[in-house]
Symmetry: D2
Subunit: 164 residues, 4 copies
């Protein structure tokens, strides 16, 4: 099998409910990914960094993603990311010319609330990047999977669409 | 997006519990796939045929899969199939030289019991076949995705492994 | 069977995630209770009123609960209520001397996130009020079920305890 | 709180899917009850015995249930039991004149497949037996809760009804 590195940066995918505060918080330990890994009987390597809502991501955070990818040995990378600025990080990654196959994914609903959508997004990214034979930066959200320039979030509808 | 046809033939993926008889039965309407489609906000085309445990599949059943693929307009095909004879159907499909990109997937646990594993298998197949640029017959099970000759079921362990 | 009226006033029990806004909202239609009813094969009567976080409940809201109970024909009442002011509403109901068997319940986690806790709280209230042979106002939360004066929320721990 | 002993004897409630054999088996460790206990934040005492489909229960098995209750200090007992012979065990328990408050419950769907129905049955039994002030043998299934003579399984419909 192709070696794949999963970089988990936070976003809705990782939100969990805190019964004491009544708020949704980003789980820094990536338990959603751990549960997929366990229930899927698959062993993939995960690095948890940043743990932010993507609206709160800074230039430094994006630089850290680039640096993490540069340091990695894997040629195939999945980034779990918030949906609101997924396009922005994708652009930064494309401009960094990392010479790898990189795919961004995430979820409109937290894994802890609707595990199907989050699992489907992550695993379709996993399948795509396994087969992918062209370096570049891709997005995989609700079945739309392509170069990051051709998939974008429709904020009114709450899902991703192909960009004309 | 690439057009993909999903051919659902039954197998563990589709088993559901009948509270009257206390037995697991194959759901002929493919409600598991319908639920993934709905929760994932994706629209994929599904044909339900055969609806059998793959141990009960006959030569005629496999001929029907071949025929269904030949008649279809789509160049990318996902087959949801029981795990016990997935290799056998894959071989029949390879020998039929269908000139398409075909991937078989399924589940060790019914979608109705462990929806994560079934969703993960199906969606990783979906991602792989979307990116795939070489005609052939592939298998996608618990994160192992490759030409059908290189992925096989380990019946003692209850999951799929890479074939040396 | 004893006739039971369920009055659903909102609270955490009914919160659902809105993927467009990224916020938890109170579902005014009580779909959590509908799902329990359907999956449990039980038919209970539900009235949805108020639909508020219990911290936002006003004097008028509590008067409406009292009025709704007074108008009802049922002698056994379950109130689904937010946990933060469950004690306050219980006191108002006790002082209204309604001459019925009334039990308040709710959830620390939304039904849409952890359906087990919400189902367990609701159904233990259902069982208790079915067997109850003494008029009064009760609370049922995480297995603590008694007169409302003897069960209260521990806000630090995030669950209900017996009051000494 | 009232002390309650839970005696788990098996039945559909405890069935889990074995992916190696493709069969449903009775989980001898009662993980369904453990999960309810954990997610409900409640601590109840459970004894796991027999672990059988209730159609396979023998006279000796029923004698063991009687003996287990006799030896227990608790005055309130919940028995998790298969649905097909729940009535038969209830009759044996009634004839044993155990001088306790005993309630039988179970599930039409395994907890591992539909956790709502199983949780609802168990927790309504829990609530009922907490409030119950009359010794006897009761059944709690899908919201029908009463003396065991007045609740029975409708095998065609697949749920419990009140006996006229």
């Amino acid at each position: 099998m192709k070696n794949i590195l999963v970089i988990n940066t936070g976003g809705t995918f990782n939100k969990t409910y805190n019964p004491i505060t009544g708020e949704l918080e980003i789980d820094k330990e990536g338990n959603g990914l751990k549960e997929i890994e366990k229930l899927w009987l698959n062993g993939f390597k995960v690095i948890n960094i940043i743990a932010k809502d993507s609206l709160d991501m800074t230039k430094e955070d994006r630089a850290l993603i680039v640096k993490t990818i540069k340091k990695s040995l894997e040629k195939r990378i999945i980034i779990v990311h918030g949906t609101d600025t997924m396009d922005k990080s994708a652009k930064v990654l494309a401009e960094a010319k990392l010479n790898k196959k990189i795919i961004l994914t995430g979820a409109m609903m937290p894994y802890s609330i609707n595990s199907i959508e989050a699992t489907a997004n992550f695993c379709s990214a996993y399948g795509y990047i396994t087969a992918c034979n062209k370096k570049g930066v891709y997005i995989s959200m609700n079945g739309k999977i392509d170069n990051y320039k051709r998939v974008s979030k429709n904020k009114e509808k709450g899902y991703f669409v192909e960009t004309k």
